[in-house]
Symmetry: C2
Subunit: 270 residues, 2 copies
Amino acid sequence: MDSPPDVFIGLKDRFEGVTVDGREEKVDKSKFEEKLRKSLEWWTSNKNRAIWFRVYKEQADWVPILAASGFDFHHARTGMVVMYRWLPTHESSNLPNYAHTLLGVGGLVINDKDEVLVVSDRYAMIPNSWKLPGGYVEPRENLIDAAIREVEEETGIRTTFRSVVCLRHAHGGIFGCSDIYMVIALKPINLDFTRCEREIARLQWMPIAEYLQHPQVHETNRQFVHTFLDYQKRGLVLTCRNQVHQVLKREYNLYFVDGDTQAVDDGLKL
Amino acid sequence: MDSPPDVFIGLKDRFEGVTVDGREEKVDKSKFEEKLRKSLEWWTSNKNRAIWFRVYKEQADWVPILAASGFDFHHARTGMVVMYRWLPTHESSNLPNYAHTLLGVGGLVINDKDEVLVVSDRYAMIPNSWKLPGGYVEPRENLIDAAIREVEEETGIRTTFRSVVCLRHAHGGIFGCSDIYMVIALKPINLDFTRCEREIARLQWMPIAEYLQHPQVHETNRQFVHTFLDYQKRGLVLTCRNQVHQVLKREYNLYFVDGDTQAVDDGLKL
């Protein structure tokens, strides 16, 4: 059934939901309230379920009107907020939450002299502590690319992938999010570092033996090195394979322990 | 230096930022604009950097005023939107993005008869395909707990942890987010399933040999089983250890290949 002429058209989804994009269907504030009222009547009679509004910054005056019409916030990013209302009264909503996990990476860079690349952040949570270079993964960025990029940005050291080491998952981080931090072992291409003055207070190549007992290296960071040394000894590589989904034709990366034990790179001398 | 009496107090952070929480400092719409103007003057003269406003649903009329005063959206969740403005003019903003990665889990449940628990979703992306039971991780939930919960909700099968199998990372999912999907091998406690009618169209115990060549099982899902069988053969366990950070006293889970090869549970008979 076609919608009447004076209601929002929106985009239908496979869950009987409708998404209205504020840039696709622009309306002045003076006419927004009336059009919204008529649209809600139509969607209710049409048995639509979730109604979503993408509201752009320049339409911020839609927000109080939507809130007064039973809409709530769902998620937002620079330039846009998404509000939603669940219409069915006989069925509870099971709409998925938005993302609530920040993604970070640390690069475990060890050179041929068995030294590990360590940094001390300018705005560190624990002042003066030594940690691995790293940072947040950018939207649509792959984890290994992020580790290589962060190491180069912070230290000027270019690297190649060796193995994933481990994954740390914790709750109660910034913005009330949880976070996942993946430690990735990398092999350096160059050895002379250039410090990023904006973010990094100090950096150095620290002998592994010193790192493993340094009072300013915290237990969790020591464990990352112990774990990687254990993988080296056992010939294990936690690898990454880029593939394309057979049906959805969507690219993805798969991280798993490589079945080919010959894939191990040259071991450390320790 | 103390703030003047007619400006927002907010909470200072270690980056010279200020966060104003709408429920801590309530102001009528009529007085909000003037107080915001005075606060921005104060924060600018005080060399504050990022200014954050947590605006609750009942204060939605603050949103157009903030937008008109140079604030943009940062993130939102049910009940609340967060807007920000970067004040320094001589320094570009490097504020972190909000979370942009959805977190899901799949449970690879194999019984003593070498059968794998498979489901067909009611609202499947690929209709009639067989996949592993699973779903989104809830806020503050651990990955293994999420896999055990989803398997039980969808199938009624209670399980215990065996090993992480792999991690899949892809971009361009719902809400424009990327997603991480962790496959976790689980051991069933009971064998009689109870289907969740709301989410699951069909479910069954499928012999592994049939699963590995079934036309409605897609390549990626077959690989999860191949990978786990390989770990079993090699005695590998990708384990999870719950720890507490030495200094921050924050709990976290560490996922890594267990160094103790004796930790492997009874192997499959295949």
